[in-house]
């Protein structure tokens, strides 16, 4: 048996390699540097890795190849845009993660134990969160460019495993954080199993693991349609779980609430880009010609997801849970871009993912600022009168909420307009109407928070707005600026996406 070494196009893989390299350096830093130097060194390594990766990525802008790593990956315009969005979101999030006050001093200690107290008193802060973040980013970059089911699965695990850990790192309310981590892990493991099960059926159907092979099988109508359906359904379950679509959303409110807020921001924004990247690729490439098998079901899931997310969000009293349900609703909106199955659907989805991701990081960044003596205050009732105490923070949060609600002159509006147009153009009046209705419902609970902040009197219970660190300020400012600019002058990005985004088949 002869063994041919795989031919790798290193230039196209370089952005991912930079991130993984940074992650490994981060592990070494964690192992060998003295405690006092670790945090700044880790931050430096992570930021450099992300920036290097971005620069490398922009060097290969416009290139495309179906064989950067044999047939396992495919680098194309859409892949470029997904990776770039993930990196920008990661950069904004890493500044939040740098605020170590949110992370436990020693994750390995039992909550409430003497070891934990000692670690706190010694002020020795472990900083494993940075390499974990980089590993997750690497997995996320791999996820939307993977073109065979095994690579896709590996990417899924590489991005998920660090996230499970990161969810458990909160400094305050550690039990809730660990519960979140466990829940995320268990349900995530289930969904991975579903995914693998589906992959096996698709292999049985097409006798191929590559997207192109499956596409050929669908085109040639070669295999057993039952296998195709089962495979398609189970793979979808795995992917829909990651984006938190109804009825696979159950993990997201608890995990959003329990995780350290900086991690929630990263997870909510970047995972969505990566997972939707993969979903778009697999549906647009492999299953495009089997549209009758999946589009009718997807309409129902999209509509159910947006309505469910918006309706349940109304009942929430905790800001992080509210944002979790709102992100479920947004997943529904984004699924209408998948449904569209058209070039404009792809463009709109990418714009929406980027705009939503940036606004999400900004919104959660503000949540990290509202604290009392025992950490962040996420109970909405205690947010009342925030506008009086800290008008700038409250106004910025209100602005992000308006962007989530899709009010004109914010990026959310352009996103909503383009994604619903794409869905309607592809023939679904139902999605358009459901989308508009759930936007109206969603507007209600966003506005309720604005009312609470501006039109209610402050409560005196020790809730205060901390002065944001320089890095957090940068994140909030950049997110707000991007959200505003994409709302007022979206043309450059819209045109750029339109001219770049495409899937190689």
């Amino acid at each position: 048996m002869t063994f041919t070494a795989p031919v790798l196009e290193y230039a196209l893989l370089a952005p991912m390699l930079a991130i993984f390299g940074g992650a490994i350096i981060g592990v070494l830093v964690e192992a060998f540097l003295p405690g006092r130097l670790r945090a700044p060194a880790q931050l430096f390594v992570s930021v450099m890795a992300i920036i290097t990766s971005l620069l490398l990525l922009f060097r290969i802008k416009g290139q495309s190849s179906t064989t950067p790593a044999m047939a396992s990956l495919s680098f194309d315009g859409a892949g470029f845009l997904f990776q770039a969005s993930i990196l920008v979101i990661a950069l904004l999030s890493i500044f939040l993660i740098a605020d170590q006050d949110n992370f436990t001093a020693a994750a390995a200690t039992v909550p409430g134990s003497t070891e934990e107290r000692e670690a706190h008193q010694a002020q020795s802060q472990t900083t494993e969160v940075f390499p974990l973040t980089l590993f997750a980013v690497g997995g996320m970059m791999l996820f939307p460019v993977a073109t065979d089911l095994i690579t896709l699965f590996v990417a899924l695990e590489v991005l998920s495993l660090p996230l499970y850990l990161m969810a458990g790192l909160a400094r305050y309310r550690r039990l809730a954080s660990q519960e979140a981590a466990l829940k995320y892990f268990l349900l995530g493991a289930f969904s991975s199993a579903f995914f693998l099960f589906g992959a096996a059926f698709l292999y049985g159907y097409s006798s191929s693991l590559t997207f192109a092979g499956i596409q050929q099988a669908v085109l040639g109508n070669a295999g057993n349609d039952v296998f195709l359906l089962i495979g398609l359904a189970f793979i979808s379950v795995g992917l829909l779980f990651k984006i938190g679509a109804f009825p696979f959303h159950a993990w997201s409110p608890d995990v959003y609430q329990g995780s350290p807020t900086a991690i929630t921001a990263f997870m909510a924004a970047a995972t969505k880009v990566a997972a939707f990247g993969a979903i778009l690729r697999i549906f647009y490439v492999s299953f495009a010609n089997a549209e009758w098998q999946w589009r009718p079901a997807l309409v129902l899931i999209a509509i159910a997801t947006m309505l469910f997310g918006s309706l349940v969000a109304i009942a929430q009293r905790d800001v992080k849970r509210m944002l979790a349900y709102s992100s479920i609703a947004h997943a529904g909106f984004l699924l209408s871009g998948v449904y569209a199955l058209s070039k404009s659907g792809l463009d709109a989805s990418i714009f929406y993912l980027f705009a939503y991701g940036v606004a999400t990081v900004g919104g959660f960044a503000i949540v990290t600022l509202i604290r009392d003596s025992s950490g962040e205050v996420t109970d909405l009732n205690r947010w009342s009168g925030l506008g009086k105490r800290s008008p700038i923070v409250a106004s910025t949060f209100a602005f992000f909420l308006l962007a989530f609600a899709g009010i004109p002159l914010t990026s959310g509006f352009i996103g909503k307009f383009s994604i619903f147009s794409a869905a309607y153009e592809s023939g679904s009046l139902a999605i358009l109407i459901a989308g508009v209705l759930s936007s109206a419902i969603a507007a209600f609970f966003y506005i309720r928070v604005i009312v609470l902040m501006f039109f209610k009197d402050p409560v005196e219970d020790g809730t205060s707005v901390v002065i944001p660190s320089a890095l957090t300020t940068i994140t909030i400012t950049i997110s707000a600026l991007i959200t505003l600019i994409l709302g007022v002058f979206p043309a450059p990005l819209v045109d750029f996406i339109a001219s770049t985004a495409s899937f190689l088949r």
Partner: protein, 506 residues
């Protein structure tokens, strides 16, 4: 840059100027706001003198690409319809600033924020009328809600937060239905006109291609949004609360200008873009308008609160306007547009004088007033004139428009016109009863010492009363702007005025 873009930008630049003044110096801020809004009014009048009334195309046009991928442009222009509404708006704003000099005190935030919001709102008020790109219009239409929301919620009285939220939710709901129609326009224009476009002139071709069902749906998306805004029965329930909670100045702008965006939109978008669907829905709309006229009037008769009373009268008046718009005769259309202009001034007069009465008496219950005619004669006379204008007394401006609407409607929908005429009778009741209670009769205890209008207030109300009387006697200057465009709107929607029939044969 076209002069109307400059007109729209002037207030927001002024807002930046106001932002630079320290917030303690509220007198300087008010003076500055008054100066800026007066300058805007002067510029608008100058533009009006350059306007060619016989031309029914858009004038002073300007177009820049905004989001080319979606066919969205920044394109503006004015015709007779938008010109009169802009004139009304920019004249009302300085009057509101001067008349409601002390309103900004005692809000949640400083006076500075109040005037910045007012100035931003003025930019949007101009912008919404000059936009000739449907998408641009929509963006401003929605964005406009935000300053109003903060004006009501931050500076109003009573249940201000709840009223502000109700206003916003109703408006957003309508806005999102309109978004669905906007998306429909985008997709169908791409399908049938070759490229996506939001240009209002190009879109007048669209209705020739799309199916009746699509046209009806698109029409409804726009119409419901505008009917909430206007407001038309049964979508009116947000208005009385918002008008009551807002400061009198905010309510003037809300009822006088913002609600006109609804009726403006019905003409500009519903009728012009979807004439066939308009034809289909006209009977329903006329019925709803007649119900609005009577329902608003009955509620006004029963109202115990002065601000609610004025809000209910407006619902009745908007019924007249909408009936005139959809009667589809050039007379009724002219009347409706003139009514929009006149209603702005008569409602402004009612709210401003009513606001003064409420501020002095510290109560808005009508029963608490009494004997004001003796105690504060000037204020009482002003309220009386405003009331008479609201009930459309011949010789005052509203009469001309109401008469035109009724005559124009009669030629096509005689039954509706006849029923609507009862609205006039009811108007006499809902105005004269409060006039009698509040101004005449024995002086209610506590009212003896109320001060009459001061010089600032007299100066503020004078131009409003002047417009009301002048246009009542000689409406030609405004009608000259309106008539050509009203005829053009009716004609391009495919209607011809019914030929007059002679009663006795020759």
């Amino acid at each position: 840059m076209s002069s109307i873009t400059a007109l729209a930008l002037l207030p927001v630049l002024g807002a930046l100027l106001v932002a630079l003044v320290p917030s303690e110096n509220s007198l300087r801020i008010k003076q500055l706001a008054l100066g800026i809004t007066t300058a805007v009014a002067a510029l608008a009048i100058f533009i009006a003198t350059q306007f060619v009334t016989s031309n029914t195309d858009f004038q002073f046009t300007e177009t820049h690409e905004w989001i080319p991928a979606f066919g969205i442009n920044y394109s503006v222009g004015i015709d007779g319809l938008s010109l009169v509404l802009i004139l009304m708006s920019v004249l009302l704003v300085p009057i509101v600033v001067l008349a409601c000099w002390n309103e900004s005190e005692g809000g949640r935030w400083s006076a500075k924020v109040f005037y910045i919001l007012i100035l931003i709102l003025e930019t949007m008020m101009i912008g919404v009328f000059i936009a000739t790109d449907v998408f641009l219009f929509y963006v401003i239409f929605e964005a406009m809600l935000i300053p109003v929301y903060f004006l009501i919620g931050g500076y109003g009285s009573g249940e201000r937060a709840a009223a502000a939220v109700k206003f916003l939710i109703y408006s957003l709901f309508g806005g999102l239905l309109m978004l669905a129609s906007i998306i429909g326009i985008y997709v169908t224009s791409r399908q049938y006109l070759g490229a996506p476009t939001f240009d209002i002139t190009a879109l007048t071709e669209l209705h020739k291609f799309i199916s009746p069902t699509t046209q009806n749906l698109l029409f409804l998306g726009f119409f419901i949004a505008f009917a909430i805004k206007a407001p038309l029965w049964p979508l009116h329930t947000w208005l009385p609360d918002a008008a009551k909670a807002g400061t009198p100045g905010t309510s003037v702008l809300l009822l006088g200008v913002l609600d006109k965006v609804g009726t403006f939109g019905m003409i500009r978008f519903c009728i012009s873009l979807f004439p066939d669907a308009s034809k289909t829905f006209t009977p329903v709309i006329i019925v709803l308008a007649v119900i609005s006229i009577l329902y608003g009037a009955f509620l006004a008769i029963g109202a115990r609160d002065l601000k609610r009373l004025i809000a209910y009268t407006s619902i009745s008046h908007f019924g007249f306007i909408i009936m005139g718009i959809f009667a589809m005769t050039s007379q009724a259309q002219s009347g409706a547009i003139l009514y929009m202009f006149n209603h702005g001034f008569s409602t402004a007069a009612l709210f401003i004088v009513g606001g003064w009465m409420i501020a002095r008496r510290r109560s808005s219950t009508i029963a608490d007033f009494g004997g004001l005619q003796r105690v504060t004669p000037v204020m009482a006379w002003m309220f009386f004139i405003a009331g008479l204008s609201s009930l459309a007394l011949p010789g005052l401006s509203s009469f001309v428009s109401e008469f035109l609407v009724l005559v124009g409607t009669y030629t096509r929908y005689p039954v509706a016109a006849v029923i609507a005429t009862f609205g006039i009778v009811l108007a006499a009741l809902y105005i004269l009863i409060p006039v009698q209670k509040a101004l005449h009769g024995p002086t209610t205890p506590g009212n003896e010492e109320l001060p009459d209008l001061n010089l600032r207030e007299k100066i503020a109300i004078a131009p409003v009363v002047a417009v009301i009387i002048a246009l009542g006697i000689y409406p030609a200057p405004v009608l000259n702007i309106i008539n050509p465009i009203a005829a053009h709107i009716v004609e391009s929607a495919g209607f011809t005025d019914p030929a007059p029939t002679e009663i006795a044969g020759k």
